[in-house]
Symmetry: C2
Subunit: 422 residues, 2 copies
Amino acid sequence: MSDSPIPTLSTWVEVPKNSDFTIYNLPFGIFKNKKLSPRIGMAIGDKIVDLSVLDQEGFFANMFLPEGIFIKDSLNELIALGKVQTKKIRERVQSLLLSENEELRDHSARGKVMVTRKEAEMLLPVKIGDYTDFYSSIEHATNVGKMFRDPENALLPNWRHLPVGYHGRASSIVVSGTPIHRPKGQFKDPDMEMPAFGPSRRLDFELELAFITGKQTKLGDSISTEDAEDYIFGFVLFNDWSARDIQAWEYVPLGPFLGKSFGSSISPWVVTLEALEYFRTPNPVQEPEVLPYLKCEKDHNFDINLEVLIQPDGKKPSKVCSSNFKHMYWNVAQQLAHHTSNGCNINVGDMMASGTISGPSDDSLGSMLELSWKGTRAVKLEEGEERKFIEDGDTVIMRGYAERDGVRVGFGEVSSQILPAK
Amino acid sequence: MSDSPIPTLSTWVEVPKNSDFTIYNLPFGIFKNKKLSPRIGMAIGDKIVDLSVLDQEGFFANMFLPEGIFIKDSLNELIALGKVQTKKIRERVQSLLLSENEELRDHSARGKVMVTRKEAEMLLPVKIGDYTDFYSSIEHATNVGKMFRDPENALLPNWRHLPVGYHGRASSIVVSGTPIHRPKGQFKDPDMEMPAFGPSRRLDFELELAFITGKQTKLGDSISTEDAEDYIFGFVLFNDWSARDIQAWEYVPLGPFLGKSFGSSISPWVVTLEALEYFRTPNPVQEPEVLPYLKCEKDHNFDINLEVLIQPDGKKPSKVCSSNFKHMYWNVAQQLAHHTSNGCNINVGDMMASGTISGPSDDSLGSMLELSWKGTRAVKLEEGEERKFIEDGDTVIMRGYAERDGVRVGFGEVSSQILPAK
């Protein structure tokens, strides 16, 4: 798919150069504004297509959609209609926005349908059931292993055999723009006799992408790598905020807990799997060979450019990381096949994040832990600032987009400011 | 409270000797039967009080309850009314069931209100938001440390400083009576060159109790140990099924994942905190002293007898464990204070389990891992059977009750059969 030519589409909507929200994208989200209650929209350029108005005006006639399906405060019910329906809806909107299509372009309701994006408030797009975080970047896992374990044996024995993951906290996942208080917690540095409790001194981001499941399974059933994408609705950017000092003290033997659960931030627009179709990239070679239930016939990696910026309070943002989703060692189909291999059931609206997406170069590391190498080197920012970890007042911005042959499909951003500890 | 005399109450309902469901208990649950759609009831003796019928007949007049609050398939909305309301409802029902109260006893609707328990099907009592599993029994943590780490330093350095816990999978929590398939997964025994995939060979139970939260907090807020019980609605028995071979291979460094998420089983009746009031027992001495945010003024431990039985297919059940909830080193108030100390928000219907409740004696160990000491000794059952781990067809039954001065408040049971791997 990454080689197949992308058909040329043009739209009557004005789409700024370098917009993430082109006619090729059309992500789903939940928005409201001063006049409108929460509802489902699709982003294009600087506008949001209000799907509820399209529906009221009869543009989805003959599609047998449940009444009021777009007047919702989450995408869950829409997603639960199934991929056949959500694909049809997206294709219908795409068709309505094409330059040559006059149906909406010349319709009296056009003004009501096209809402100004900057006047809208974006809400959390899904009611998240269970949230899982993987650890699927070999560069990240290797870096962490080098820092905390043995530089010669950085990867743990299980790492190349299965996509390591853990259950995370769903309640504290918030949408871009929601500020997060610096967490308090217990920590015990190597030079401390006893642990202490207080604000984290090593607050970090983790650059991740997460997928949202679109179809449920029954307890006891498994999903094959071949069928896995049928269960994936779309993707968002995911900032897995981490308090390294809390995490270091608590995580043995049961894994990360309060070092993570004080907040995770996601981008508001869910980019569908269909929109990413032209940006597939070959799966990396996996050595040793994986067990049969983890083998893939098809490419499930995606070429998505990712970047992280830190903006100190009142200053300019500085880019600190340029990475790419294609670096993932374990792909989404393998993650889902592994997750359900024991019969664990999934629901519509579960979220599964990739783990920190680090690349091979020094400027592609997806966390401050790696960028500052455990706080041993400062990362230079604009205006004379520098950081080893995140400080109060800093805003962390993550962006992501795929681009090929001049066609761009992007995520917008997830941006959130760190407030002082309460 | 454990010393204060229990007032004598008698009821016109026939309650069999040794029933868990006395007039002192009155747990909430969701039931249905051939004629009745899912609704909220309270157990007493061999009956269920259909709260929806009580409501229709006006027995809750002047309590300003939302219409249809008892015709629900989960307790969440009822619990969300708050403890003041749910306490009033329970006290009103208790009053209606007293021997001397003729309101319901002599009412024409009595037959419709009192449903036969054995003809009812019990459903999962709550829609579980997030599920957390703690590791709060010092005997269990010590036993595991002795087996897998250093017998001389069995407890990890953090264990006495904080209630270690991890996020678990909520989707696969099922109600008593739901069979569970033996999970498949990856394992790598010490003598294996490479990992293999197949049905778990070391399937285990874990004897736990779990509490259900009844009040939400906002992201960034914390709960003190003093206020913690205001956020606890009630308790259920919890069987945290575990596949030891899958867990052993996957759990480093991010903790238990697929070794747990194939299923957890809970008892259907939620015993309220109020019903356990007379069974408080002193908190254990904690050495070294805990940090201030974990200190407690009040007793938050409860004297609840617990037992586990294994019933091979077609055979008699055998008791393999007698433990007690009072053995917990970390209590529920400390668990909740710790969980929210970083600002992690909780919702109504979150579930927090204790971790395996092992006692100090050999017959009080709450898992086969401990009872068979990692599979090195067989546990004798009735009829010539013996077990090191759980076999296909086995039913595991957990029971729990508090008893003092002839007054009993119990949980009934959580019982589930293991079916062969799919």
